[in-house]
Symmetry: C2
Subunit: 419 residues, 2 copies
């Protein structure tokens, strides 16, 4: 008898997480002998806790296919860390209760480090409780900080967006610098790992082009060295473009975004390291500046997604189902790089105990000795990840993104649950 599957999206969404959902659902539909319905959690794992389950069987093949070109989380995601027995909660047990009520035999959890840990715990608690469950993690994070896998689905598209944006802004600034803006700062995401900051460096196609300075969260901010580097770029090239991580901090670990700006109410302004860096340049070097904060635009920019990233996102969803029907539990499909030039990759498998809560930062030899740029080795790693375009369909000048019906399944448990 086939058993049902549960799929949930976890944490920050990406331009291509729905492609993984499509990979899971379309592949499950090809394994009817083993997998019955695919039920999705509304707003991620909260949907399981509150028994708000979406029947993906109500969506047409065309709608599921359209997930491949639609950003955000089609079923909703959440930031929510399950509380175990030791914390006074019984959320894992509640999860199993709901799974049992809906005969869930497969658990697919689509997220980053935290959710890999959750997925592992769910598989263990199910085993302890004698409930048969195959739990597979589907990797996703724009931060590119999961271990073992060569890269993380979601990252390549952000990388392509920030590199393209930096190249375009560079064209703008270079042409205006003589009488106008000389320093441009682009702030990007990645609080602990500098992968996205590194990707802005791909914009540099010729030695004199920007970005001329990168500010990584892995390198403590050195004001004097930074200002000297900016000044040198302006003197040499007439302008300077800068990519900065939101997680930039000083040698004492203080985030610069928290030290620089106060809002009208006297609060520190989060997510504002670009204005801080820009105003520092203005105060000390007197150069006219502009700054941009890409924020959510970078992680939802499906219109400029990487084809490589899209294919890998779909592939990990598909592989997760194939692992599950083969009975592999407590694992995660990974991207294995076979070669860089030409780029070739295949799907591998990692055990969740090796993945959960491990954070992969930039290796030091991916950053130039002065700390302000990327090395040839880093470029060789990053380049294939942004390769290829995969434009969504457009209608009336705008991307035509799908919205699913998201019909709820009838509740079966009697207990209400307040997360």
């Amino acid at each position: 008898m086939p058993r049902n599957a549960f799929y949930a999206q976890s944490g920050g969404v990406t331009a291509v997480i729905n492609a993984s959902a499509a990979g899971v659902i379309e592949t499950a539909r090809r394994h009817r002998a083993k997998i019955g319905k695919v039920l999705a959690g509304r707003d991620g794992i909260l949907g399981a806790l509150t028994e708000d389950l979406i029947d993906t069987g109500r969506e047409s093949p065309a709608a599921i296919r359209a997930l491949k070109h639609t950003p955000g989380g089609a079923f909703g995601s959440c930031r929510y860390k399950l509380k175990g027995v030791e914390k006074g909660g019984h959320e894992y047990e509640r999860l199993i209760e709901v799974f049992r009520a809906h005969d869930i035999g497969y658990f697919f959890y689509n997220g980053g480090n935290d959710s890999a840990d959750t997925c592992l715990k769910v598989s263990r608690i199910a085993a302890e409780m004698g409930y048969p469950l195959v739990a597979v993690h589907v990797p996703k994070t724009i931060d590119n900080d999961l271990p073992i896998t060569d890269c993380c689905p979601g990252f390549g598209s952000v990388a392509k967006y920030v590199a393209t944006s930096m190249r375009e802004a560079g064209c703008d600034v270079a042409s205006m610098a003589r009488t106008s803006t000389k320093v441009f700062v682009l702030e990007v995401m990645g609080r602990h790992a500098g992968w996205i900051t590194a990707a802005t460096g791909l914009a540099r196609g010729r030695p004199d082009e920007g970005p001329h300075v990168l500010l990584f969260p892995e390198i403590a901010f050195d004001e004097a060295a930074f200002l000297a580097k900016v000044d040198e770029a302006v003197r040499r090239h007439g302008y300077c473009t800068i990519g900065v991580s939101e997680g930039l901090h000083d040698k004492d670990g203080r985030f610069l975004s928290e030290t620089g700006l106060k809002d009208a109410f006297g609060h520190s302004q989060l997510g504002g390291v670009a204005p801080f860096v820009a105003s520092l340049v203005q105060a000390k070097l007197k150069y006219k500046y502009h700054w941009a904060v890409a924020d959510y635009l970078q992680r939802s920019a499906r219109h400029i997604a990487s084809k490589t990233d899209l294919e890998q996102s779909y592939a990990v969803g598909k592989a997760a189902v194939e692992l599950a029907v083969a009975g592999r539990s407590g694992v995660m499909p990974t991207i294995v790089r076979v070669s860089s030039r030409p780029y070739r990759w295949k799907i591998g498998v990692a055990r969740l105990e090796d993945v959960a809560n491990v954070e992969k930062k930039m290796p030091r030899d991916f950053i130039t000795p002065d700390g302000f740029g990327i090395t040839a080795k880093c470029r060789r790693y990053l380049e294939p990840l942004i390769a290829g375009e995969a434009y969504p369909p457009f209608e009336n000048g705008l991307p035509d993104y799908v919205r699913l019906k998201n019909v709820s399944v009838r509740r079966k448990t009697k207990t209400a649950f307040k997360p």
Copy 2:
């Protein structure tokens, strides 16, 4: 005998100003009997004043063609207002001196309101000095604020970028709002006119989608009404997305960007109205927020340019040359809308005295009565301007933008000139 032409880019550059340059140069090359060389000013009009002229004849047809897909100003632009005799300068006279030295018979000036005024003055002073010169303005401004022309080349592409970005960020926020960010603010350009802010409104494809609130520079900021509107959207839809003009001001005309934030050095933070609006929401409504400032990304985003805008940008360059060889001086080609649905347009002509220094703001009936949205009439006006995609070629995952050789012509005047 053919005479030479001078072409210069003026003011803030756009994703498609180089398409106008291509229109001028390619069309001039088809009128060899009347037009000799096309010389471009390096860094705009400064190139003429300092006699730093670029010989576009040294560029291959392929390079000129590639201008159509390259953002920024290929010859450099500048922010520089010519000083007339009355201000103690003799810059107009200097211009004619340089034009005379290089036998410039045609002056093509590619810019907004200011440059239309300059172009008009140049044509008048040339006439006063008895120097035969045909002066034609080529319209360009992302602000869409030139009169007479139905729209301004450069605007449609910014409009497409901000509408796409808003739609994508909306997908992101909608899927995370239950446990995470409930209010997202996107700041866009347009200090005096709200056209770009209005364009973010195109993102709304369904009645419940964002943006739910727009903040125009034409409407004085009303804090209480704004907060009520945001709160209503969050209560009804679970989240609220907001498009705000950098030029938002209060009823006393004070820019909110200047009142809200102080940098680490105590200076007002310019270009930071989004963080101000976001922190206001947080302080008064306690909703978690995110904000983005698109800044130069929006006006250089050639990767998501509007095909309509691209075609119109090229067309005004081409028409400017055709007007010039027909002997029309002191004029500007315009876009005339023939019909909205289906969209049809043609090229018209405006006299520069009717264009110079006139600013076209949003008509009040393009903004909803409450001041926070766009009307159906506005949507009907905007929609055709973002229609069609015109992707640049990509290489190794990034747009492949051309850089011209920009070879200088040998100087002929003996006088040095310091602008």
